[in-house]
């Protein structure tokens, strides 16, 4: 479960990177159980089946992924696997360049 997410969190520990979930499980307890069972360490907004966050973001299918830069701007959508790793790396490098 969630292999891309897991490897990114592990690889980028200590970097200015955050993984935030929006979880669609029915109850908070179901989310909690899932986090414990799969050792999920990152924070998720609990949104329920058709919650307000998914409604606002017009979510039709899962997984749906948004990659935001340090300014909160949407830079990538619908990236998975290798491409997702590259996208995040690219944004981290961009951030470093801007700081120097």
């Amino acid at each position: 479960m969630l292999p891309d997410e897991r490897s990114l969190v592990k690889k980028l520990a200590g970097k200015p990177f955050a993984l935030l979930g929006v979880n669609r499980d029915e109850s908070r307890e179901a989310l909690k159980k899932c986090e414990e069972k799969h050792g999920i360490t990152w924070q998720s907004f609990h949104d329920g089946r058709d919650g307000p966050i998914c409604k606002r973001y017009n979510i039709q299918s899962m997984p749906t992924i948004y990659v935001l830069d340090a300014k909160g701007v949407i830079r990538y959508k619908c990236v998975r696997g290798e491409a997702l790793h590259r996208a995040v790396d690219e944004l981290l490098k961009e951030m470093e360049r801007e700081q120097n």
């Binding site: 955050a18 935030l20 499980d25 609990h46 409604k55 606002r56 973001y57 017009n58 949407i74």
Partner: protein, 264 residues
């Protein structure tokens, strides 16, 4: 005064009433019987194939059964088409065409073309194009686009127009959506997005009274205008599994991966 008001309505009803009156009862019922027999034979073929599939032992056998059934299904699609062609004005005609256009049927392009031609020829002004939900389910294909554009331009019923407008907009939005895994926008994405936006806007302004349509279109417009690459992500405020409150905007200064997921 009342009598005058009702006259245009009577004119609208008259042609179809005349047609029903002229058509001999036995012809109506024979078409219904023919359709039912066709559906029954198709279901039998499906059941038979499923039973053989369950007994298959190797992946190769299963592949062979699947492709054999695809050939059978294609023959049935031909029969449903012939039925729709022979009985252009029956209750079952649109059901037969709906079956052909349904994504699960996986009809070949030539069959899709023929089904769309029949709808545009015989049913373009029908108020029944929303039930069965033909316009709602069509997948992106040249024939489907012709169908939606034709219906939007020529169907006189507002609920049907609204559905055609919404479906066409969603089809164009789909064409502009980045494809995983690379997440790059497809060619001509901006062009498709622009037309999709105009059509969603049209649903909101012209078809505000059609149930559900404007609400759906508004959500789509929000996505195009506020959730596109290059826009600041709308802030999210919520609580985590422990009930602790947090918000997306608190993560400015970090690269953020926002991930919509579920355990089920």
């Amino acid at each position: 005064m009342k009598r005058f008001l009702f006259q245009p309505l009577a004119l609208l009803i008259l042609p179809s009433a005349l047609w029903a009156w002229h058509m001999p009862e036995e012809e109506k019922s024979s078409a219904a019987g023919e359709y039912k027999a066709l559906v029954d034979r198709y279901r039998d073929a499906q059941r038979e194939s499923d039973a053989v599939f369950d007994k298959a032992r190797t992946e190769e056998e299963r592949r062979e059964i699947r492709s054999a059934f695809a050939r059978t299904r294609s023959r049935f699609v031909g029969r449903f088409l012939a039925f729709a062609e022979a009985h252009p004005r029956n209750r079952e005609t649109l059901l037969a065409l709906f079956f052909i256009l349904h994504p699960d049927t996986q009809s070949e392009a030539s069959h899709l073309d023929a089904a769309v031609r029949l709808i545009l020829k015989d049913h373009i002004t029908s108020d029944r194009l929303t039930d069965p939900p033909i316009l709602q389910l069509v997948e992106d294909a040249p024939a489907a686009e012709r169908l939606l554009r034709g219906v939007l331009a020529q169907n006189p019923h507002r609920a049907v127009q609204a559905q055609a407008c919404l479906s066409l907009a969603l089809m164009l939005k789909g064409r502009a959506t980045p494809r995983p895994p690379a997440g790059r926008p497809p060619e001509r994405a901006a062009l498709f997005t622009r037309e999709a936006e105009e059509l969603f806007e049209r649903v909101v302004t012209e078809y505000a009274g059609v149930e559900g349509a404007a609400e759906k279109a508004r959500a789509e417009l929000f996505e195009i205008r506020h959730l596109a690459v290059g826009k600041v992500a709308p802030d999210i405020k919520g609580t985590d599994s422990g009930g602790k409150e947090f918000r997306l905007s608190a993560y400015r200064g970090k690269v953020v991966l926002l991930d919509f997921w579920a355990g089920w």
